[in-house]
Assembly symmetry: C2
Homo-oligomer: 411 residues x 2
């Protein structure tokens, strides 16, 4: 259920907070008790949803949320949102003491984890400006987009085992690289450590082998949306990727934000995506608007600096393919999927230079260095902290994603 | 431990059986009792290893094998092999009744599953004759091998969720394809359903994120070897694979044989692989011989036929890269891995036409149809049953893999 913008909470919500009562994101945390629990967040206050069960504040049929968010049906998740709204809306303040204050915790008293466990990870390439920029850089004598790009959401299987939650440091990977003029490759730390500004969705439920998910039902299978930084080693990628695609250049670490934002919370922010021309085949054609207006930004705190500076701003509406189209495509051959599977969008660059979602594009293959707080960068240096943020702006409130942040450790 | 060739079993072993007492493969089955259990096999007899625990026939420290083969350390797995050898060797026949005949079952009374659960699946491209053939077909104006091929084991992340055990039917996938002269792609059942003759290894134990597995320790992380058929849809692959590699053309089904063959059982069959020239970088250089002489064959039973015919014969010794090199490479960037992760070799074609490990090569892109039992084939038809087999030939015995078999169902 979508919570009306007029509702407010008796829990303090700082101005411009990502987490008004309209959001109620889904997270997972270790509590001060040592137990782990599903959690949500209002302002800077954590609600230990598992403890609400212990205090009898949730209907008994929702108790199974303690096993994980995807243990609830979609109808039960909507019921849970409504229950949480009623507990914490301003009108309930007179009963605040009854609503067991001990289920509320300051943000800094919990350790956040990935919001669900992740059996599989697929990464798409649906940012059309990014794909076009990469084409211009690496195939300058050909059209920037390959012939298949507008017919299907190009993607590949990533590595679920290295998906980590925001705040986890990322070690600079070693890998094999070869400069164009070198006779032989060498092995060592990547010299072209990069980020990729992406969003992703987690599955709420999967499909059986051989039974594709129809596009009109795809959103029913989606739990919600997170920010994704698909860390990349460009020099490794260039040498390894033919003919089977990116492998070790992408598998050393992928950062997700700790809060899954429900599609219910994003409902007011649906927008049409880019015109799809030529028309897509029937199995990829949706009857409803499937893009979202989510503002994205990336900031970089260079090694040794006290502050971060804005690197770029973009928006999920620039994605060529919608989440539903991605999921319908990926299961169209009968691949089985599971609750918790993660699907990332691909780098979401906008049309302008200030909206490019990777160092590769921002510095145009390293040929146009940028200056951040007096430091020059082509790619990322050890000690740099890279942070993605995102939010949908409503009338007087925002549905935010928090952040997906990581610091580069030396190899 | 490697069991001497002189040892025989009091359990009958048919001549040329894949499963003499020297093999003792690792499998997983549902028993007639309805319980699932680790199992091994001698001749056509199943040994319910879990039940041996219940009968006090295994040392107590090995009881945890009931949770899975990878619950035992490598030393404990060796101890288990020795215990099984002592229970079932011919010298123990006088005690056969004490060795609880009820732990033995005819093969047809159990349902075999994948031998371990599989968190992740990586597919390499280490069959150099296959890679070379594909190059000749699809890039006829360039050298058949890409520049990186002899420097690193090219590979990509596959889809673990669609790995199934031998005997599981495989539904012909639908997908998007475009013929060169068509203006637009179409969506429908693949017209180029293919198999790939591969072997694979399962991990016994993984590594932590950021801590690569050194090549000299790689085999310590390997549980053993299976046969792998990486079913492929060639027309889908051709249209989708640029620039991020194979995706839906490979993710609809992968068949593994039900028995993991321990490296201990294959110890007598080590051979040098092809000369690696140019020399590989130090992190891929092993001091021990890491290839194995395993004979492979593929047979096809065409739809409607009563019998299968041999399609091709090959050998794992044709792989350019060893298992150790594959694992050392894949973790060299710090990717974390887990017990049960599956690594497939890539298609193992030999140098001659009769040794090509895919229909793509056997019929040279469909341009040279072959005749099997009076039926013409370019790619696989609905109702066709494709079976991989493999064995290492010892002096008077063979260490066999059983089979990886699957029948193509209509889309």
């Amino acid at each position: 259920m979508t919570i009306p913008s007029s509702i407010t909470s008796w829990i303090p919500v700082p101005e411009s907070s990502d987490f008004p009562i309209q959001n109620l994101p889904m997270g997972w945390a270790t509590l001060p008790s040592g137990f782990s629990s599903p959690v949500t967040r209002i302002g800077d206050t954590i609600v230990a949803v598992g403890d609400l069960v212990n205090h009898g504040l949730l209907p008994p049929e929702l108790a199974k949320v303690r096993a994980g968010w995807t243990a609830l049906t979609k109808a039960e998740l909507a019921q849970l949102r409504e229950t949480l709204m009623n507990l914490y809306r301003s009108e309930s303040e007179p009963y605040a003491e009854l609503i067991q204050i001990e289920t509320l915790l300051p943000l800094d008293q919990v350790i956040l984890h990935t919001p669900v466990s992740i059996p599989a990870f697929v990464d798409f390439y649906s940012g059309i400006h990014h794909a076009s920029n990469v084409g211009k850089m690496f195939r300058p004598d050909q059209p920037p987009l390959l012939p298949n790009y507008r017919h299907l959401p190009v993607g590949y299987n990533g590595r679920a085992s290295s998906v980590v939650v925001s705040g986890t440091p990322i070690r600079r990977p070693k890998g094999q690289t070869k400069a164009p003029n070198d006779e032989n490759p060498t092995f060592g730390p990547t010299k072209e450590m990069d980020f990729e500004l992406e969003v992703g969705f987690f599955l709420h439920s999967g499909n059986a082998m051989g039974e594709p998910i129809e596009i009109e039902l795809a959103e029913e299978h989606i739990l919600g949306i997170v920010l994704v930084n698909d860390w990349s080693a460009r020099d490794v990628q260039r040498w390894e990727y033919q003919p089977l695609g990116p492998f070790l250049a992408k598998s050393f670490g992928t950062t997700v934000s700790p809060w899954v934002i429900a599609l219910d919370a994003l409902e007011p922010f649906r927008v049409s995506g880019p015109d799809q021309e030529p028309a897509v085949l029937p199995h990829l054609k949706a009857s409803t608007v499937g893009h979202f207006d989510i503002q994205l930004e990336v900031s970089l705190q260079p090694n040794g600096s006290e502050e971060a500076s804005l690197l770029c701003q973009s928006n999920t509406k620039h994605l060529y393919w919608s989440f539903s189209q991605q999921l319908a495509h990926q299961t169209s051959n009968g691949t089985p999927t599971e609750a918790g599977d993660l699907y990332a969008s691909g780098t979401i660059s906008g049309p302008d230079e200030g909206s490019y979602g990777s160092m590769l594009e921002l510095t145009w293959k390293g040929t146009k260095p940028i200056t951040i707080q007096g430091q020059t960068r082509t790619f990322l240096e050890d000690g740099d902290t890279l942070t993605l943020r995102g939010f949908a702006q409503g009338d007087g409130y925002r549905i935010g994603f928090g952040e997906a942040s990581g610091t580069v450790l030396p190899a």
